[in-house]
């Protein structure tokens, strides 16, 4: 392959291909209308990136242990599909989903609970920002120490990571209802609960979804990293760390792809849910 690089036509050829790629994405993006255009453009862009990755890795003879070609990654994913599925179930099915639900749920409930206590809020929020600066690499070993090497310790890390973003967002969201709207409810002599349900929670929805989305990616990363510090013999983090240590980089990237696809899908799913739930919000309405 190396001789192809030395060929004087290689780089001009790549440049030409890059232009073609850029133009095709540009044209795709310019298509008017339907919602799938956005997705298709992003997908086309992704396909080109993968293609360039493949060509460059091969042409430049990049060692497989540094950066495997996408074709190798795909092949490895197919070969080890059952293994990766097991890892997915272990990490996502248990730690991420449970941790995310618990973290977001408790963040939300605590926010609603302390909504009426400004004193606690003023005290908690600085402490929340203090904890948000604690990196999970420090928390993960402690979690494994406390909760064992099975999924509960990963879920605990995820809970810790997702709790405060949800708490902070929900509190901000509960304050988002307009003054006029609040005074309207007040003039109806509506009860606290009524105002919460009819006005403040709906108004907070965009904030809550914002936290749900951010937390989805945080939860995934948190669970995977926590597995680096002790785990059973399956899980995406386990796979990444052990296969990296034995130089099986295609499978490492395979696991990373599974993680990234899962994260992106979760994100996209939440975006769709948000479109349904907060259909009235200007950012959704405009399309």
């Amino acid at each position: 392959m190396t001789e192809s690089v030395t060929s004087m036509w290689f780089w001009p050829g790549m440049l030409l291909l890059a232009l073609v790629a850029g133009y095709s994405v540009y044209r795709m993006a310019a298509v008017q209308g339907a919602r799938w255009v956005g997705m298709a453009t992003a997908a086309l862009f992704g396909v080109w990136v993968v293609l360039f990755w493949e060509i460059l890795v091969r042409a430049l003879d990049v060692p497989r242990v540094l950066l495997p070609a996408p074709s190798l990654v795909m092949g490895s994913m197919v070969d080890h599909a059952p293994k990766l599925w097991g890892d997915f179930v272990q990490t996502v099915g248990k730690a991420v989903v449970i941790g995310w639900a618990l973290g977001c749920g408790s963040g939300f409930l605590v926010a609603v609970a302390i909504d009426r206590m400004p004193f606690l809020q003023r005290g908690l929020l600085p402490v929340a920002s203090l904890t948000s600066a604690i990196p999970l690499v420090g928390v993960a070993p402690i979690a494994v120490m406390w909760f064992g090497f099975e999924w509960p310790s990963k879920a605990a890390v995820v809970v810790l990571m997702t709790f405060f973003p949800m708490l902070v967002s929900t509190l901000a969201g509960l304050k988002a209802a307009g003054k006029l709207e609040r005074e309207l409810m007040y003039s109806y002599a509506a009860s606290y609960t009524r105002t919460l349900l009819a006005l403040r929670l709906p108004a907070a929805l965009p904030f809550i979804f914002g936290a749900l989305k951010v937390n989805a990616t945080l939860a995934l990363i948190g669970a995977i990293v926590a597995e680096f510090f002790g785990s059973p013999t399956s899980g995406l983090g386990f796979r990444i760390s052990t296969e990296a240590a034995r130089m099986n980089m295609p499978l490492v990237w395979g696991a990373i792809v599974v993680a990234a696809v899962t994260g992106s899908l979760a994100y996209a799913l939440l975006v769709q849910l948000e479109r349904r739930a907060a259909f009235w919000h200007p950012s959704v309405r405009e399309g």
């Binding site: 006029l180 709207e181 007040y186 003039s187 109806y188 509506a190 009819a198 259909f279 309405r285």
Partner: protein, 275 residues
């Protein structure tokens, strides 16, 4: 502070449309906002008497305290001094007794509720049953000319339609006192005329107490039984004018000399207060 005319308010005028029961009684009320530099006297020494069934318009230049006075009556703002009674009790108690229907200057509709659900909201809070709430709401939507739009969401309506929804919402509540803060500010003249007419008829029919803020002299004169002219810095009442016009009104009234004379009187009072 020349609100000399406001002193004979205690004795209600003898016009037939004024019942003797008191709806709102404001005595010597002041509101002072504390701001960074100097305190703002939003309302200073206000005396006002509103009998049940009156249609009272507040008019005056920007910043003269019209909104503040409305908010004081509706328990959205506390007075710094003086006394306010609504239906004989404090504004707070009156609010808990669900005495108010408040129409804000902006429609303040909930975007996640469609038109019908927005109108039924206060009924729901009142504890009305679903079917009944719907029936009442549909009735009032029809009254403001929005039949057929009950399934639409607020952002699918023009500004004027939104404002009409908010009026329907306040009316459906059947409040003792209807508070309207420049409800027609954003509408074109013709739509506005039409709504004025409807509001007049509504008041004719039901004789609710209405407190109404407007910038339009014609509107104030056309609608009110009593016009309160205010002036800013500090916010005070410069004149209270009881309308000599008959209760039955139609738009044609606006071209009569009596109407013009009253409008002139209001304009004079305004100009007096305007420095």
């Amino acid at each position: 502070m020349n609100h000399s005319e406001s002193t004979h308010l205690g004795t209600a005028p003898s016009q037939t449309h004024l019942q003797q029961r008191t709806a709102v009684e404001v005595r010597n009320a002041s509101v002072i906002y504390q701001t960074a530099d100097t305190p703002v006297h939003a309302l200073s020494d206000i005396d006002l008497h509103i009998a049940e069934g009156e249609f009272v318009s507040l008019i005056g230049p920007s910043g003269c305290g019209k909104t503040t006075l409305m908010r004081v009556i509706a328990d959205l703002e506390h007075i710094s001094a003086g006394e306010v009674l609504v239906n004989g009790v404090s504004p707070h108690d009156a609010r808990l007794a669900r005495a108010y229907g408040y129409v804000f200057q902006a429609p303040a509709l909930f975007p996640w509720r469609n038109v019908l659900a927005n109108v039924t909201l206060p009924l729901q809070i009142q504890g009305k049953g679903k079917a009944e709430a719907k029936r009442i709401a549909m009735e009032h939507l029809e009254r403001v000319g929005l039949k057929g739009f009950e399934g639409k969401y607020p952002w699918q309506l023009s500004g004027g339609m939104q404002q009409r929804v908010s009026i329907a919402r306040a009316l459906s509540f059947e409040p003792k006192i209807l508070m309207m803060d420049e409800p027609f500010g954003a509408l074109d003249e013709i739509t506005r005329d039409r709504l004025n007419e409807q509001l007049q008829q509504l008041w004719q029919r039901e004789r609710r107490t209405v407190v109404f803020v407007t910038h339009s002299i014609a509107e104030a004169v056309y609608l009110s039984t009593k016009i309160v002219v205010m002036s800013p810095r500090p916010g005070r009442i410069v004149k209270v004018i009881d309308s000599p016009l008959p209760d039955e009104r139609h738009l044609g009234l606006r071209d009569t000399p009596a109407f013009m004379e009253l409008a002139h009187e209001v304009r004079e009072a305004l100009a007096d207060g305007h420095h």
